[in-house]
Symmetry: C2
Subunit: 175 residues, 2 copies
């Protein structure tokens, strides 16, 4: 598929609701489950998505539109959520993510982005030249990737419990 804003927006709009439907009121062991030391739980992923709404996607969009390639994006902190989410409940994280995402989509809509705007470029601190189209496609793929991470982390909690069926479930990893 080629990137089309009209196809990307429905995904970006749905992600907070998908995560709420999956995670709200779920027994705490699912929310806090990880894949081992130094890996993220669904709770941690929610905090990471919140940090992206606060510091990444719209900030970079605005920088591309206002300053172009001349200004390098601020690096994204992949670990900010461990402090920022401390003491919050899963419900509070789900609410915060939904509010920030909705506000960011309002901000995005106000730009009335044209196809020419999507070709505008910015400078990523590690990746170099990128286009606004690539940034927005990455926003979508990043959402889907982290939904996939959350269900993988959850599914893997039953790796031992499924017994011989593990052979039919590649998501659980090979024995």
């Amino acid at each position: 598929m080629h990137f089309e804003l009209s196809q990307a927006l429905p995904i970006l709009e749905r992600t907070p609701r998908v995560l709420r439907t999956l995670l709200a009121e779920l027994p705490e062991p699912w929310i806090r489950a990880t894949e081992g030391p130094e890996t993220w739980s669904p709770f941690d992923v929610l905090g990471h998505l919140i940090h992206g709404e606060r510091t990444d996607w719209l900030a970079r969009t605005e920088l591309i539109l206002s300053r172009g390639e001349g200004a390098t994006f601020s690096p994204f902190d992949r670990f900010a959520q461990f402090e920022a989410s401390h003491g919050m409940t899963p419900g509070q994280l789900l609410d915060t993510f939904a509010e920030l995402r909705a506000a960011n989509l309002v901000r995005l809509d106000k730009f009335r982005l044209s196809s020419a705007d999507l070709d505008r470029r910015g400078t990523h601190p590690e990746l170099g030249r990128v286009t606004l189209r690539q940034l927005l496609a990455t926003w979508v793929a990043h959402d889907l990737s982290h939904i996939g991470q959350i269900v993988r982390v959850m599914g893997r909690q039953y790796t031992a419990e499924v017994g011989p069926w593990r052979a039919y479930l590649p998501m659980l990893g090979s024995a």
Copy 2:
């Protein structure tokens, strides 16, 4: 995590709503997207989940409880959905899956399964001896696995569109 019915049921209950939240009214290219020839689209996965509700999870639970190891499960047809879903809309598949899942959870609840019941065994045509606990854990992991498959298939539609960010998104596969 050890398998606990009280922790498994909230996942099984949520899956139809998660898929509805993710897929209902989504632009058709997402629903029909695949990872290449002989791979499944979200539409195909919905049909597969429906077939499991119709022929697999509860049928096997009932066989274990009524006949134990003596009766071998019917093999599961992994391709039944291509015919069964033909001509149906995504909305019809989402409705069908939700109805069948809800009915199956009512049937499951009526068994009032004890821990001893969960240890009862059946015979899988390929895997041999399995327990009811393993079957029900697999039902949960299978749901999560196919949610993961759907978001992976969708995310990979933007593999080219994300440009250099592909390096940060393992779900898209390496270049």
